[in-house]
């Protein structure tokens, strides 16, 4: 039931912008709790990588006195990966195309992360 509700949030997020290719909610241990991924994406890999990056982001923010981590953004030649805390126990991972307008996507992703945090 809860997974379906989270999936519904992810579905709304993905359909809100053509530039969002996929999204997933992952536990801090890297377990994928719910996902809307493309067929060629490995759920386990997305989960493990997102959780590891968020952990390092958390640590970096602390070590460099940047306060509580808000989000991590990775930019590659094919696009972006956004990682946002969804409450204290999960991370929202959003995979975005390279030409995307990030402002709106950040806004939508933050809203989705808050909605997911309320469901967990």
């Amino acid at each position: 039931m809860r997974e379906e509700m989270i999936k519904s949030v992810l579905s709304d997020l993905n359909s809100g912008s053509a530039d969002i290719e996929a999204s997933a909610v992952i536990s801090l241990d890297g377990l994928t709790m719910a996902s809307m991924l493309q067929a060629n994406m490995d759920e386990d890999r997305v989960g493990a990588m997102a959780a590891a990056m968020l952990s390092l982001g958390d640590r970096t923010a602390i070590e460099l006195a940047r306060g509580a981590l808000d989000q991590v953004m990775i930019k590659g030649s094919n696009g972006y990966v956004l990682l946002i805390h969804a409450g204290s126990e999960a991370v929202l991972s959003v995979i975005v195309r390279d030409k995307a307008k990030l402002g709106l996507i950040f806004l939508d992703a933050t809203r989705a992360a808050n909605a997911i945090a309320n469901l967990l």
Binding site: D29, G30, D44, A48, M49, A51, A52, S55, D58, R59
Partner: protein, 182 residues
């Protein structure tokens, strides 16, 4: 002996490494023969370490304290206590090594030295071939066990410091394997 009921990895290690209850008896039996030589072994060990520029940097100004700690640890291996306290003591070493930035290389090199040196002490002072063989096997198994416990805790502490839990670490390792296999 060891309380390893909930420690699957340690059980696997012990099964393969083969350090058993009878090895404890062997080590207690040879302790009076080996203990008098441990001070000399420790001195030789630190002399060797000081010859390496990189390692010498870590030792500067604390050599006497480190020798004392090392000798204390070495002697404790012959006490016959291989229970929860023993495990905790080895794990503490791994934890401290992360905090004082002693890389695993030093533990591997140290254990290698001790394996050779203690085997040599045994062959020199335990003349019965069967007893010497049994003693060498027991002692090498014990050193392997110490290295496993120290390295495991080192790794765990390092990952915890990075915010990466053991579960996540296993997931990352599994992900890598899948990619290599595909």
């Amino acid at each position: 002996m060891m309380t390893t009921a909930n420690d699957v990895n340690l059980n696997t290690f012990l099964h393969v490494c083969g350090f058993r209850l009878e090895d404890r008896e062997t080590i207690l039996r040879i302790a009076p023969i080996i203990l008098p030589h441990l001070g000399r072994v420790t001195d030789r060990f630190y002399d060797l370490l000081l010859q390496d520029e990189r390692i010498a940097e870590y030792l500067e100004g604390r050599i006497d304290l480190l020798k004392k700690t090392h000798l204390g640890w070495l002697e404790s291996l012959f006490s016959g206590d291989y229970g929860a306290d023993f495990i905790q003591r080895q794990e503490k070493i791994g934890e401290v090594h992360v905090n004082v930035r002693v890389p695993p290389l030093f533990v591997a090199a140290s254990m290698s030295f001790l394996r050779a040196e203690l085997s040599s002490v045994i062959s020199q002072y335990i003349l019965d071939r069967e007893e010497a063989g049994q003693s060498t096997r027991a002692l090498l198994g014990l050193l392997d066990l110490c290295q496993y416990l120290i390295d495991r805790k080192y790794n765990e502490t390092l990952m915890n410091n990075l915010g990466i839990s053991q579960t996540l670490l296993v997931r990352l390792q599994t992900t890598g394997k899948k990619r290599a296999a595909s």
